[in-house]
């Protein structure tokens, strides 16, 4: 037991180190090169210079948002995969992203963001996500029992319906609105509103803390729902709370940063291969590695075809997918079950 705990602590320290390293890498790369040596100098003495503003007003907000979103998505992926015991479930499977995208599309075609402010976009995204969460939730409750399979199927269907509705909206929208919709759907960590960034950070950290209240339940779920019940877990309550927690995390992430795929699917699998299936270590490691993965991908997206910027989802998909396949071919995969 003692050896295991030491092993885990090493993992956590390593991942924290990784997070720190990617953050630093991201902080000093960009179209304006600022070498690592100069960073400290700029941070402490360079107030008022251009480099200072670039670091603190352009790059740092993106890193913080990447941390919050990457962490939240990976965490939500771990929770959902654990709860459904299905390796293909990810935060976007349940239609939450579709709902958020639909909300944003409606906002864009009615030009609400021009009449009010750009900040109404995340608000509408969140409302859309919330609507889908409630819809999926109440449609899957039968006689007071939340059916896991129905939850999944309803979610997938709602996801399809909303993506078709989005295409309908795109087909009838004006050319310049179309651009707005596409920008949003591609997802980006660029967010002008600092309050939103702080809010995302707060929500994802609180989500991590809350998820630790459920580590026993999640571990028990690995054995199956019935076995969990026999182990004394209140499965009904747990399922509902976990569903609400993970959808809330996803809804917040999607409404701030748009649809950034793959983080919630690949990172949980990836990290499970290394640290095992115990949720005590899995939750925190997924959060940390999701955060560093997204920060790293965003940095690459900024520099690969500079001065243009790739959508970060392109990088997460290609990089995440190929690394995952490589590791999968080298290592025996441990999926949700035993």
């Amino acid at each position: 037991m003692k050896r295991k705990s030491i092993y885990w602590i090493y993992w956590i320290l390593a991942l924290c180190g990784l997070l720190l390293a990617t953050s630093l890498f991201s902080l000093c790369t960009g179209s304006v090169g600022i070498p690592l040596k100069k960073i400290l100098e700029v941070i402490f003495t360079g107030k008022g210079t251009t480099e200072y503003s670039i670091i603190f007003n352009v790059r740092l907000p993106r890193i913080i948002l990447g941390f919050a979103i990457g962490g939240a998505l990976a965490l939500s992926g771990v929770i959902l995969q654990g709860m459904f015991r299905n390796p293909l479930v990810e935060p976007y499977t349940l239609g939450i992203s579709g709902g958020a995208a639909l909300g944003v599309c409606l906002n864009i075609i009615f030009r609400l963001y021009q009449t009010f402010t750009v900040s109404t976009l995340p608000l509408f995204g969140f409302l859309g996500a919330l609507l889908v969460i409630l819809l999926v939730y109440f449609l899957s409750i039968k006689k007071g029992i939340l059916k896991i399979t129905e939850l999944l199927l309803t979610g997938v269907m709602i996801s399809f319906i909303s993506s078709s509705l989005i295409m309908l909206i795109m087909a009838v929208s004006r050319a310049e609105d179309l651009h707005g919709i596409i920008f949003w759907i591609m997802g980006s960590l660029e967010e002008p509103n600092l309050i939103l960034i702080k809010l995302a950070l707060l929500i994802s950290t609180i989500g991590l803390i809350i998820s630790y209240l459920f580590w026993k339940d999640l571990n028990a779920f690995l054995l199956g729902e019935e076995e969990a019940l026999h182990l004394g877990i209140n499965t009904e309550r747990t399922k509902r709370l976990l569903f609400i927690l993970s959808s809330f995390l996803t809804g917040c992430s999607v409404s701030v940063a748009g649809i950034i795929g793959f983080v919630g699917l690949v990172v949980p699998h990836f990290i499970r291969m290394f640290v095992g299936t115990d949720h005590r270590i899995l939750l925190i490691s997924a959060f940390l590695s999701g955060a560093s993965f997204l920060i790293f991908c965003d940095t690459l997206a900024r520099i690969i075809i500079s001065p243009l910027e790739l959508p970060v989802g392109v990088v997460t998909g290609i990089l995440g997918g190929s690394i995952f396949i490589y590791v999968l071919s080298k290592k025996q995969i441990i999926l949700g079950g035993k």
Binding site: M1, S5, W8, I9, I12, C16, L19, L20, G30, S31, V32, I43, T50, S53, I54, F56, N57, V58, R59, L60, P61, I63, I64, F67, Y113, V118, A171, V172, S173, R174, A175, E176, H179, G180, F183, E190, P192, N193, L194, I197, K198, L201, T205, L208, I209, Y212, W215, K216, N219, A220, L231, R280, I281, I284, L288, R302, S306, P307, L308, E309
Partner: protein, 296 residues
Amino acid sequence: MILYRKVPFLTFVLSPLIIVTFYLVSLLFLLSEPINAEMELSKNPQRIISLGPSITKAIYLLGIQDKLIANTVYCINPPPAKEKEKIGTATDVNIEKIFNLKPDLVLATSLTNPKTKEKLKNLGIRVVTFPVPKNFNDLCKQFLELGKLVGKEKEAEKIINNVEKRVTYIKKKVENLYKPKVLLQIGADPLFVATGSYFLNDYIELAGGINIAKESKEGIYSREQVLSANPDVIIITTMGILGEEEKKTWEKYKTLNAVKKNKIYIIDSDKISSPTPVSFVDTLEEIVNLLHSKEK
């Protein structure tokens, strides 16, 4: 059962959380408030960045190209604009690079990502947006506005006066001519045409034609609608190499008047869709000739 053996709560739950919280606190401490620098509304901006091809052309027209420090990769006309520093495309720009160039005026279009504009404003940069003009008058108004912004009001007025004279002359010339029905196609797959809500419509109307898609709300149009409206002239913008393909497609419909009269034309998209008042009238004159040329 390993699951329920007593675990040292402190090690597993609290220590990672402490590390994460520490990271967060240090980040939040570092995150400073946005620069709310007083936007100096200088009458005479010296460092201008253009985020749209039509704006770049207008700047060259006003003769202040020396003050233009950067533009987008789409800004290829006039040719010297290619040599300027590039900060991205019309839709996707590099904020860091813009900020580092220290502009005192950024001229955006409605294609620019709204989040980008907001971010630049937060960084203390003055951003002015020029939406897609609704008609020719709107185009002139925007040009005057741009002239005012960069302190070249008189030059802009002079150019506009000249342009309006030319338009009046064209109007007079086509007044008593037969009004052909025209389709101006700006995209294929799906078929996309110029409707009444944008300036493209004025190319047809001022040239003395009737836009068959004027009342259509969205730009998407069906071939059936085109066949039933039966235009006398079809004008296709190049859209890369697609223009020629589209011309061949239309020529299959032998019942179309435009096919019978052999009046399907291809026009350069850059010329037609990102105009300055002057290039608008140049293109307009070209279209007048196309519309009222003798049948071949």
